[in-house]
């Protein structure tokens, strides 16, 4: 132990046979003039400004990350569909494509009728013409049978007589 500490003291003594150069006057001039120039030019960092700047940067980064994640999710979904993103969001045309759809004939018929009548102009016109034809049939100007009950004159409209009665 003593020998080690003696050796260490010897090392310290040997180390002191060298020295580090002190900063020169030339270096002082160079450094202090650069520092003074920076002092005059730079507005010193104010803590609250830095906090606001960091907050704004964080918000911008968060918005960017969410946008990128959203975009990537769309890309991944589109990649899994054979016809891209449009195919991914398109409703199945055939009811058989909906696995959880109740397959009763009535539901199927209603759904198909609803779809076709709503989207097909020709079907709509046909439907209007049919209504008109029914109304024409029930037109009172066509010499109705006075003895017949009014309910039978039209299948669609309630009769005035029945209101009056």
């Amino acid at each position: 132990m003593n020998e080690t500490s003696r050796d260490n003291s010897e090392i310290e003594r040997l180390l002191r046979r060298a020295k580090l150069p002190e900063p020169s006057a030339k270096l002082k001039e160079r450094v202090t003039s650069a520092a003074r120039k920076a002092w005059d030019q730079a507005v010193p960092d104010v803590p609250w400004q830095i906090a606001i700047r960091r907050l704004a940067m964080s918000a911008a980064a968060a918005v960017l990350m969410v946008s990128v994640a959203d975009y990537c999710a769309d890309r991944v979904l589109a990649g899994r569909q054979p016809h891209g993103l449009a195919a991914a969001i398109e409703e199945p045309r055939d009811l058989g494509d909906w696995p959880e759809m109740p397959y009763s004939p009535l539901v199927r018929h209603l759904a198909m009728t609803n779809k076709s009548s709503a989207r097909n102009l020709a079907t709509l016109l046909e439907y209007v013409a049919k209504i008109r034809q029914i109304l024409d049939e029930s037109d009172p100007g066509e010499a109705p049978d006075a003895g017949a009950p009014v309910e039978y004159k039209s299948r669609l409209l309630p009769t005035r007589l029945s209101f009056c009665s």
């Binding site: 002082k28 160079r30 450094v31 202090t32 520092a35 002092w39 005059d40 010193p44």
Partner: protein
């Protein structure tokens, strides 16, 4: 004058936003910072360049420095960051002359070169402490405040450094 009271004129000048703080900072820190930077970079020339950058950085962050709990800790942290950035950019190994012989005879100059090579082989954290202790006559307490570590850590790193130097310089000592 202890270190705490030596802080006062610097803090006062910084709070007044007085450019005279630059000279006060120079008088207080230039020697220690240059030694520290030479210990990190093993180059006098690079250490001088980084010293200039450190002072410019200190000036830009003077508001923080004025309120810092420890001036020494803040200044040396800036120096460490700048030295690390410099090393990442240059990736230069210890090479140039940075130790000087006390005497001008050939034997001492040769010895200074051997010492320089031996110090360069120490881990950086040990080299910093050995140099501040030997060449700047700092106590473990002062070095701990500068480098933000406990005096015990400083002392143990110093001891490891000296022991490693003893092994490296074994042949030269005989």
């Amino acid at each position: 004058m202890n270190r705490q009271s030596a802080d006062d004129p610097i803090r006062a000048a910084l709070q007044r936003d007085d450019p005279a703080a630059v000279v006060l900072l120079w008088d207080r820190y230039a020697g220690d910072l240059l030694a520290f930077l030479q210990a990190v970079l093993c180059s006098k020339h690079d250490a001088e360049d980084v010293l200039q950058t450190v002072f410019v950085r200190i000036v830009r962050k003077r508001r923080y420095l004025a309120d810092a709990q420890s001036l020494d800790g803040y200044v040396f942290q800036i120096a460490r960051n700048e030295a690390t950035s410099f090393m990442k950019l240059r990736r230069r190994r210890c090479s140039s002359q940075w130790l000087e012989a006390v005497e001008t005879d050939a034997r001492t100059e040769e010895w200074a070169e051997e010492l320089q090579a031996a110090l360069a082989r120490l881990p950086q954290e040990q080299r910093e402490i050995v140099i501040l202790k030997i060449y700047r006559d700092k106590t473990f307490q002062e070095i701990g405040e500068m480098l933000d570590m406990s005096p015990n850590t400083v002392a143990s790193r110093y001891r490891y450094g000296i022991e490693k130097l003893r092994v490296i310089l074994k042949d030269a000592m005989q």
